[in-house]
Symmetry: C2
Subunit: 380 residues, 2 copies
């Protein structure tokens, strides 16, 4: 299959543009370097060992994951410095300990005394000090303590004194995904920074260690102006980018490295529709641009070579059907997309679209190199 050419690929399938991906990876790596902070990429977007090798330029870490299944898959190939960036479930501590026994330093995340007590107790029982970070909330997005919450010190002390390891504090400015433009996003970045830096200061003032101060989201990582006091930043979707990120001006549409290859399978001429074999099963149900300034439907349409077909949008999707039409109000007419025409669809949300597929078909940076197949993994 490594000798397959783009023209031979079955449809729908997932395409990845190696050159664009490398460019996106380098852009944020340089930015992190310029601030002197560690970049800890989030591997939940790619879920692929081969892609992780591009993202983790220094080899076996540092990395972030969103599931223990990711941690286990990456640990199995030697990646050994991982933050599990979702609040730890009390039913997951056995698997965390197994990862440590297998040589992977997995850091867990928590925001309550009950979790801290459970992590400390599990650490003590196993004689493995599980490293834990305290999650801080800067924007009311979902989980985490307010920086001023008095529980912070109690949690820190429990971890530090009862058998676990107080590794640091972590914040994710999830609401930055709704801020348009670098100036607006830089405010989220500063609020995110202050939340963790103030929390770290509070822990240290209480005599507790706080070696790691971690911030991150793709928008804030690209917009931050000041990272004083921060030791590392995390981001995930920047590796591929997508229409949601383009819609808030973190990237350009042409930076998007991920697309779905599809074939025209029908028409409704009176409606001005072309039907394609990429429905929501191939694109995901993510409609992340629905509330942005420009709604991109289920994706923007490119020709097979990746050139954008301006104002063509996947306006609707069923399980295995997509409907392409001219953007309402654009005044353009529908091009002649004859049956069998092959197109690429740019996704709203790369994490969601990639998760609908079992593998990447990687278009090589050097056009004489063979197309590569990279498996993805899934599950929890």
């Amino acid at each position: 299959m490594t000798d397959a050419r783009l023209a031979d690929l079955p449809t729908p399938c997932l395409l990845l543009d190696e050159a664009k991906m490398k460019c996106n990876i380098n852009r944020l790596a340089k930015r992190a370097d310029s601030f002197g902070v560690l970049l800890r990429p989030h591997l939940k977007t790619t879920k692929s060992v081969e892609a992780a090798r591009y993202v983790l330029k220094d080899g076996n870490g540092p990395a972030t994951v969103s599931t223990l299944a990711e941690a286990e898959a990456f640990a199995a190939v030697g990646i050994n410095d991982i933050v599990y960036g979702v609040g730890i479930g009390l039913n997951k501590l056995d698997r965390v300990l197994d990862l440590h026994r297998a040589g992977c330093r997995l850091v867990v995340l928590l925001d309550s005394l009950v979790q801290a007590q459970a992590v400390a107790a599990a650490s003590k029982a196993a004689e493995i000090a599980i490293p834990a970070m305290i999650e801080i909330d800067s924007d009311g997005h979902r989980s985490g303590l307010a920086p001023s919450d008095p529980e912070l010190i109690k949690i820190g002390r429990t971890l530090h004194e009862d058998g676990a390891e107080l590794h640091g504090v972590l914040c994710h400015a999830g609401d930055s995904y709704f801020a348009v433009g670098r100036e607006a996003q830089s405010i989220y970045a500063e609020v995110e920074r202050l939340a963790v830096v103030n929390s770290a200061d509070a822990l240290r003032a209480a005599g507790l260690p706080c070696p790691v101060v971690s911030v991150g989201s793709t928008p804030t990582a690209h917009a931050a102006k000041n990272l004083t006091g921060v030791t590392e930043m995390r981001a995930g979707v920047y590796v591929f980018f997508d229409l949601v990120m383009a819609g808030i001006e973190v990237c350009d549409v042409n930076d998007i490295a991920l697309s779905v290859l599809t074939t025209v399978i029908g028409h409704q001429v009176k409606q001005g529709w072309a039907l394609i074999d990429a429905g929501w099963m191939a694109m995901s149900r993510d409609r992340g641009t629905a509330n942005q300034t420009v709604d991109q439907g289920y994706g923007l349409v490119c020709d097979e070579a990746g050139q954008l077909l301006v104002d063509l949008v996947v306006i609707q999707a069923n399980q295995e059907h997509g409907i392409i039409a001219v953007r309402p109000g654009s005044g353009r007419s529908m091009p002649d997309l004859v049956l069998g025409t092959r197109l690429r669809i740019l996704p709203n949300h790369a994490c969601a679209t990639a998760a609908q597929h079992q593998r990447y078909h990687v278009l090589p940076e050097h056009s004489d190199a063979p197309l590569m197949i990279w498996d993805r993994f899934a599950g929890w």
Copy 2:
């Protein structure tokens, strides 16, 4: 793993209630029998050989699929009477022929002369008369010819005379998913019936065969009052049911056989939130109830035993976080869902939620029987 108990399952994971599934299957099977029409279940919802064995009570068919990957997986276990219910791509005919050579009678679907010519040419070249159905559109939902379209006869004649097999006509009243209640849905069913029956009559009047007249969607299959002239009906999501189907009164919430098992991993007390480890990766991004009378968010909440917790809704989802809150305006207060509490979430759309998972954990009808694991397959 077959000795696992519900209480031991890792979270998030996909649960299937065997007793409810059997009840749903029997309900529609009886209905089809009462009309004297064949039921051709759509296996795109389940994508599981074990589930197919429950649905296909007569063994190896008849069945409907939405991808060639489904056809290939089911053909590999002997299921040999399959309609591929998505307009055939010109790039997929080799795989169709391979399925025939392997003993699976796969029927393709088309709505254009170009497709008919390609199917006829491929049939002639391979000396295998590919059976093809002409897709008819009754409601402007997506693909298919209007019943009165003069292309119908040309397409039928091309199939019949140039090497393929004219198998019949097929219609899917996709817009019936937006009709509430049996009376409204029965109108869609009648329009769907008339579309195919009139098309079949037109083909026969032109001297062409039309042995199969196929209708179907889960709402119309449950609501049709008259199926005169129809030979078979198709439906898929009825096997599991979901909140979208409950929202349009095709089923009751208590009929839903599919759910996602999850664990409470955090709280935001001031917001009235409980956080769970089922985000959109476990539930899918499907928000099919968003435009229904009652928006069910990312799903309704049950306790671990499956009892509905009234007015608790998954109001928001990130990749691996769900947020549970009391339904706005309900006046209820948030119950005390302590860390580690296990819950079940009922999905908006069973096809989409199931597709996020690699296997079913099947809760047996008889409580002393072991929990079963059924693998799902994916891809195209």
